[in-house]
Amino acid sequence: MLRLDHVSKTYRVGTLGRGRLTAVRDVTFELHPGEVLSVIGESGSGKSTIGRMVLRLLQPTAGSITYDDANISEFHRGALKGYYRHVQGVFQDPFSSYNPIFKADRIFGMVHTEFFHEVGADEWRRRVSAALESVALNPQDVLHKYPHQLSGGQLQRLLVARALLLDIRYLVADEIISMLDASTRIDVLNLLADLKTRGLGILFITHDLSLGNYISDRTIILRHGCVVEMGATEKVFGDPRHPYTKDLLASVPILHEKWRRDGTRATAAARPPEEAEAPRLVSIEDDHLVAAG
C-alpha cells in the first residue's frame, strides 16, 4: 500500500528563492493494489508534484509517504533500488523521456544490467518480447529504432513495457495519454485497466475528466494544491458537491450535449495565501469527502 500522510510541498521561487509557492497542501490518501486512483486538476494544481514525490524525484516539505509502512524518504541504495523495482512512473512527453541517441533495445538493456544482471540473455530477450506483446507492440517493429523513428503512442507503450519488465506493483501515470491520438489513446487506457485487473495499483494523473471517469475506481479533485473533493469515482462524478467540481464538469465538452451559453467567463480564482491552511475535508457519505467552505 502506498500512503500519503498530510503531505505538503513548498517550492522556493523568485529571485534567490525568496518567494514561496506551496504546490501541494496537506494531502492524504492511500493507493491499494488493483486500484486506479485518478488525481485530476488543472495546470498548477500540484498533481504532477504529487506524482514526483511518490517517485521520490522530489522530497515532501512536510508529511510522509509510506510504502508498505516504510517511509520512502528513508530508502537508500539497495532499499531505494528495491522501491524502484516496485514503483515506476511514465510521464506526459514521451519524446523527452528518452535519450535520443539510444535505440529502444538499449533502454531495455539498461534495465537488464541495472536490475536483472543474473538473468541470461536469451531469457531476457524472451521477457522483453513478452512485455512488448502485452503492450501490443511488435518487437521487430520497435527494438532497433531510435526514439524519433517511433510514434508517440509507441514510445508511451514502450515506457509501460519497460516498467512491466520490473516487478512493479504501482505505476504513476502522469498525463501519459494526453499527447496521443483519440484512436490510440483508448488502447493505452484499456492497457492500464488490464494491468489493474492483474493487480497493479495505478496513480492516474490527468487534467481530462472524461478519461479519469472512464478508468478510475477512486478520484481526487485538486485545486491549488488542496484536495477539493475525493472518493469513489461514481460518487464524485455522479453527485459532485463542491462548486469547483461542478464547474469543472460543466466545462467538459461532451458529445450530444452542448455547452450552456452562460456568458460567464472562466475567471481563475486566486491562489490561497501561502500561510493559509488547507480546507478541512468533511465526509458526506461513505467514501466521499468534500472540502468545507
Binding site: S43, N190, S210, T233, D247, A266
Partner: protein, 329 residues
C-alpha cells in the same frame, strides 16, 4: 461562398522524398460558417490550415486552388500572400505564448504590427479597446509584457490581434489543446462570439478533439491520411457518422458517464499509412472492418443531403460516380 478549396496538394520535402501530407482536398466553407477540421496527428489538418496562410520552408505547393471571396489565394507565392495575410486570412496559432514577442509590451507590439500594415493606430485604438472588452480583457493588458499574462489571457490577446482587421477567414489551429478545461471553454466560446459579432466571416477550427468541435462548429470535416473522409453538420458527424473511420473515431471517445467497468471502449487497431509512399485506393482500408475489393480503388466523394463522404459504402454497387479529383465548382 467564403472559401472554396479545389484539389489542394501540399507536400513536405524530406530526404527520403515527398511526404504527401495534403493530397487532394476539395471543400467549401460558407459565409458565417465555422467549419471544424478533425483528424489524428499526421492526417494533414494543420498542413491544410497552414497552407491557407503561409507555407513554411519544408512545405511545397504541388497543385490545386483556394479561392477566397472570389480571389485566388497565391499559396505558392510567399510575398504575394502578404497582401492577404492578417487582412483577409488570419490565424490563431496553437501556442499563443510563442506567438507574442516577449520583449515588447502588448500595446506596443500591436501598434508596430498595425503600422507595418499601414493602419492608423490612433483610429484603431477605440476598436482595440472594444475588442479587448469583448474577449474579457482589461485595457490594462496593453501595458503588460506577455510573461505577465496567463496562458488563457495570452490566447485571448492573440485572438484579438488576429481578428483586428476583420479578416474574412480565421484559422484557429488547435487553440484549445494547451488549455485547461475551464479556459478551453472560454476560449472556444470567445471564437464563436467573434463570428457571431461578424468580426470574421468564416472560420476553420482545427482540433483533434471532436467533443470540442461539436460544441463550436457548424460543420465538421474529418480528414484521414491526407485526404477527406467525411463532411457533415456537426450533429450528424456525432450522432450519425457514416464513414467507417468517423464511426470508429466517435465511438472510441470516452465521455463523462462512460466507465471502463461498464463499457469497454475500443480504439482503432493499426495506424495510418506512411504518407511518404501512401497505398493506392482507400487509405483507411487496412484498418477498416468493412473493407472489400472495391476499396483497392480510390473511393469517390459522394455528396447528398448536405453531407459528403469518401467511401465505397456510400456508393450503390452499380452506379458510376464522377471522381472527386479534377471536379470543378
Amino acid at each position: 461562398m467564403a472559401l472554396r478549396v479545389d484539389d489542394l496538394r501540399v507536400y513536405y520535402r524530406t530526404l527520403h522524398g515527398d511526404v504527401k501530407a495534403l493530397d487532394g482536398v476539395t471543400f467549401e466553407v460558407a459565409d458565417g460558417e465555422i467549419m471544424g477540421l478533425a483528424g489524428e496527428s499526421g492526417c494533414g489538418k494543420s498542413t491544410l490550415g497552414k497552407s491557407l496562410i503561409r507555407l513554411d520552408g519544408r512545405m511545397r505547393y504541388v497543385a490545386g486552388h483556394a479561392v477566397l471571396d472570389g480571389d485566388e489565394l497565391p499559396i505558392w507565392d510567399d510575398s504575394a500572400m502578404d497582401e492577404f495575410r492578417f487582412r483577409r486570412v488570419s490565424i490563431v496559432p496553437q501556442y499563443a505564448m510563442s506567438a507574442l514577442n516577449p520583449t515588447r509590451k502588448i500595446g506596443r507590439m500591436i501598434h508596430e504590427l498595425l503600422r507595418s500594415r499601414g493602419v492608423d493606430t490612433h483610429k484603431a485604438q477605440s476598436e482595440l479597446d472594444r475588442r479587448l472588452a469583448l474577449v474579457g480583457l482589461e485595457p490594462g493588458v496593453l501595458g503588460m509584457y506577455p510573461i505577465e499574462l496567463s496562458g488563457g489571457m495570452k490566447q485571448r490577446v492573440v485572438m484579438v490581434i488576429s481578428t483586428l482587421l476583420d479578416p474574412s477567414l480565421l484559422i484557429a489551429d488547435e487553440i484549445t489543446s494547451a488549455l485547461d478545461v475551464s479556459t478551453q471553454k472560454a476560449a472556444a466560446q470567445t471564437l464563436v462570439e467573434i463570428r457571431d459579432q461578424g468580426l470574421v466571416k468564416s472560420m476553420i477550427f482545427i482540433t483533434h478533439d471532436i467533443a470540442v468541435l461539436y460544441q463550436v462548429a457548424d460543420t465538421i470535416l474529418v480528414m484521414y491520411a491526407g485526404k477527406l473522409a467525411e463532411k457533415a453538420p456537426a450533429d450528424e458527424i456525432v450522432s450519425n457518422p457514416r464513414h467507417p473511420y468517423t464511426r470508429l473515431l466517435v465511438s472510441s471517445l470516452p465521455k463523462v458517464g462512460v466507465r471502463y467497468a461498464e463499457k469497454e471502449l475500443t480504439g482503432i487497431p493499426g495506424r495510418p499509412p506512411s504518407l511518404l509512399d501512401p497505398p493506392s485506393g482507400c487509405r483507411f482500408r487496412d484498418r477498416c472492418p468493412l473493407a472489400t475489393v472495391r476499396c483497392e480503388h480510390e473511393p469517390p466523394w459522394v455528396e447528398e443531403d448536405g453531407r459528403g463522404i469518401a467511401c465505397w459504402e456510400a456508393v450503390p454497387a452499380r452506379t458510376t460516380v464522377k471522381p472527386l479529383v479534377g471536379k470543378a465548382g
